[in-house]
Subunit: 337 residues, 4 copies
């Protein structure tokens, strides 16, 4: 059984990866690290993970594969030794999502290991399944980006829409992580909704890169506006696009269904989905529709930001890299209500 | 002091009107009705209104002005006698918002009193202040519509944008009223976000009508998608539009500031607003901005759906109709946090 | 593999049982019924259960064991044929929880099959493990009752406290089920807390019966006050009792730890637990402590009302009845945050 | 018109005091301070207070009365100059709530100005109305303490109960203030309930002091357990006590009604109250009842922790000190829903 380690288990992404790997039927979580909590039982930091019986370590022990839940920059640095040793590595941070170092630099600053960018594969199995299966370094895509890309990819690949789209995203607050901040203070965030990152959000270049690769020139224009809403988990993206040629609702539905036919975690649905239908599971539900009055396409996509938008997608990639069934350890149904 | 009555005080809109009128310095709430609860003390249905000492009646007593919080169709019928008597009437339902009977019919069915439509004034003081002051019948605009219209009106009137806009709206659940429904059941609605009315929402024609009146031909295309988010009060609309000619951020801000210069309840702000900043007060905060990468205009507007999006706006209109200061009884600050 | 059927899958308890049995490693969910939804795909009623590929039926098909999620009275009637055939039956309703028909009658009305009461076993494995393993008819205990009983049982069995206790319980709203009601309407229940059933709650006799069986005479007096708090899942009970003889904190902790030593789902913790630590999992966390100033015992217990307080406990009982490992299908960790 | 200043307007208590004083009909908010934000417009820190047009200052300007919203210790020090000048001072912190310096020291550490303790009056107008009216230094009682004391005071004064009570309190998270902390991080606090301060909460001595003053010897034993629940505002206390002599429900109700007859903000209600019924208003609703099975008294009390449990109560005291009507500036009805 593959021995897996998690770097930085003390945030929400790391904890979610531990929840999944700790019950994975074909992989064994053997080691977890955490900068400030080294030496503590994992159950002291996260009581829900106490049954795993692990202790947080300074450095990973013997492992066959690595998942990093460190923030960007720190992640690339910490992963370098494992990458060099040729271990399968999944990075949940943004460090290896962008193909071009200048894109990374524009949004995040200098990349610690820019030459590795060309070796990494973007961790969206629905678009890059085969590449992921053959890769040693995979970067699970961002939560907003995954939702927006999956919502629009079929339209783009079939040349159905103009290269000018809007993604209006609504996210639960766990996406901001466990680090404290006034915007995430309960009394401020509860009973409230606000747009943020109106000057540009770091997951925009992921969307542009991935959709751009599917489009013919000219490069697409993407307006992406995220909103913070008062719930813990879940992302709903409402994507707006203009049609290039006439299509019927049935054709639209069929196009999505066939695009995602071999993807176990994308479900094309015939009624507006709700984020709650994906709570704690790895599904992404897509609902493509028309605004008949304006001819505009409106696609609604939902997922759990820590699952298909994070750790779940990471494990999905890891499964492919290890030659396991894509859905291994990810078959839990959503928690509802 | 003007004696005011509320028809159908037993829903959220009626209760909010009672909260405001019950503490209004220049009007006196003297009578409230409620279909099923007639005979009961108001404080039995709404304990927070017990201090008003009112009893719910079958029919209004002697009043000088009327506010109706009935649903559409029922509202027009119930208001007819008061309209005939020439009393100042504010309707919080949709019955008198649309100028054309065919628009009403397309969205709501046959209008009970279609000939009155031409006599009614749309209750958005920021656009129709003088007409409202001279009117006897005013229809307070819908909650989503108010937010979307106020967010876009300055751009439209100045011909700054293409007549093709998107309004992505996020609303708290009190907008759905007090009538039970699975979508509003706590366990379903909590920790959830979903788009609804994707086939067309009844407040769309209000938006089209009001923005259309400001635009030159051709009539604007409006895509409006509302979303239900897990909070009680508040609406945030994110409006997207394409520029017709170059503008700077400063010009944009000035344009909004001057457009709303004389409007006591619209505040143009220089940072992204949050719905919580308007909780329980009659303000609408607007934040106009560019997406610099795509040149697209993004305007964020927030308000409390039961206040500026409902009863508060109704009282604002009533003040104008009665020759009172526009802000009388509406000066309470938002409850924060 | 044992074929299991669920009667009345269309409520939250039934859906939770389906979530668990649909992924159970040693049982197969083969049939589900639902009164009003017969003929519909299960995924139409509950999209999160669509991956199970089941259709809701009028009557159960061929099964080897039955779980009922019907309301009381209806449940006993529907289960009768299966009980007669000798199939292992787990009832999630209150129909078989009380040993005395007069207790049932006092709280619920006439029992449909009172002679079966003596054959049923109370479904709290921590107190009745062996009886359950040998039973054909088990009634999973109520959600509040499970929390209160597990919190107090060790104290009672060891004669540590006076037979006069208080259980102040705080519950998420899913405990009220999927049936609509004003108290569970989002706008009413959100941002609110209220006590209910102050005249007596139906789970009180369960608490009295189970604790009473552990006590010596006289029968205990139990004051039980439930409160509705604005969250979906989770129960926290704060139990108060007066000491009969001196005890140290260490002794108290040891007493709990040894009492639950063989119970895989009860964890005695050394810091105040939070309901979120049990979200979606079958754990009950207990924190026994003193109020040093008054010498009063305060025991805090938390669980997920649909899991250890409902369907999870039911499956735990079913496992025992079928000779399976007690924790089969229940090893998922809590979803956090 | 009395000119009032607020020290430390930048927390929730200070902001709430500003919301109330900024619209007070017989007092004028003229000056506000805030340690870190001096020089900023108040509307920059709290956009909902922008309409007040105030700038945060380093020190108060010319004022006739002072409200302090500083934390304990800092508050006493900052108030000293104003106390010396004989200005009416209301302290929202705990610095002047306890009569005995040793009590303060046991819970908070050394008191900065212990000799002033004897000059201060406890700010619960329902118990100390006349003293407050004649005082220059009043300490508004704590949020939990106010709820617990008001819930039990009538029983105690009439010698109806044994001097051994339990107060199980459930509070919204704004009670913890605006300072960041993991327990108040949205993702941790949402969908969660937990007991805290099980080793003793700082408002316990207030409860003991105030109830003790009403009791005959021996001093009462009070077990007080607060719980954090996922809402922003509101406290519900469930108080449990044992009867000393027989009483009927009617007698109980009458006793409460007559005890609070002259108190404009305490309403004795005949159905279980909900915190939402007091949102943003200064009311405390009390529901006294019996548990008939055990003869135990159960009293439920609700209030808004920032209003009757904080700033609202402070203004109520200030009104009395200034010879104004007790309810001046506090007549706003609750925001519902």
């Amino acid at each position: 059984m593959t021995r897996v380690g998690i770097i930085n288990v003390t945030g929400y992404m790391g904890a979610e990866a531990a929840r999944l790997l700790g019950r994975h039927p074909q992989a064994k979580l053997v080691s977890v690290t955490g900068r400030s909590a080294a030496g503590k039982p994992l159950g002291e930091v996260f009581p829900h993970l106490a049954p795993l019986g692990l202790t947080i370590e300074e450095e990973l022990g013997e492992v066959d594969a690595v998942v990093s839940a460190l923030p960007h920059a720190a992640s690339a640095e910490a992963l370098l030794p494992y990458i060099k040793r040729g271990l399968p590595v999944v990075d949940l941070s943004a460090d290896f999502r962008l193909r071009k170092a200048e894109d990374y630099e524009a949004w995040y600053g200098t990349h610690p290991t820019p030459d590795l960018l060309s070796k990494a594969v973007m961790g969206i199995p629905e678009l890059h399944r085969d590449e992921i299966a053959g890769a040693k370094l995979v970067a699970a895509a961002g939560c907003h980006a995954t939702a927006a890309i999956l919502a629009l990819a079929p339209l783009v690949r079939h040349g159905l829409i103009e290269p000018d789209v809007i993604a209006d995203s609504k996210t639960g607050i766990s996406g901001a992580g466990r680090t404290l901040g006034l915007s995430y203070h309960f009394s401020e965030a509860n009973e409230d909704v606000a747009a943020y990152a109106l000057g540009g959000h770091r997951q925009l270049p992921e969307i542009t890169q991935e959709l751009g690769a599917l489009w013919e020139a000219p490069p697409p224009r993407v307006t992406f506006v995220p909103h913070l809403i008062p719930m813990t988990r879940g992302i709903l993206v409402t994507a707006y696009a203009s049609l290039r040629r006439d299509t019927t609702t049935d054709q639209l539905y069929d196009l999505y269904a066939s695009f995602y036919e071999t993807s176990p975690f994308v479900r094309v649905v015939d009624r507006p989905p709700a984020t709650k239908q994906t709570l704690g599971c790895n599904d992404c539900l897509l609902f493509p529709t028309f605004d008949e009055r304006t001819g505009r396409l409106v696609v609604v996509g939902v997922l759990d930001n820590l699952m298909k938008g994070g750790a779940g997608q990471g494990i999905q990639c890891l499964n492919l890299m290890l030659g396991l069934p894509e859905a291994a350890g990810l078959q839990g149904l959503a928690l509802y209500p």
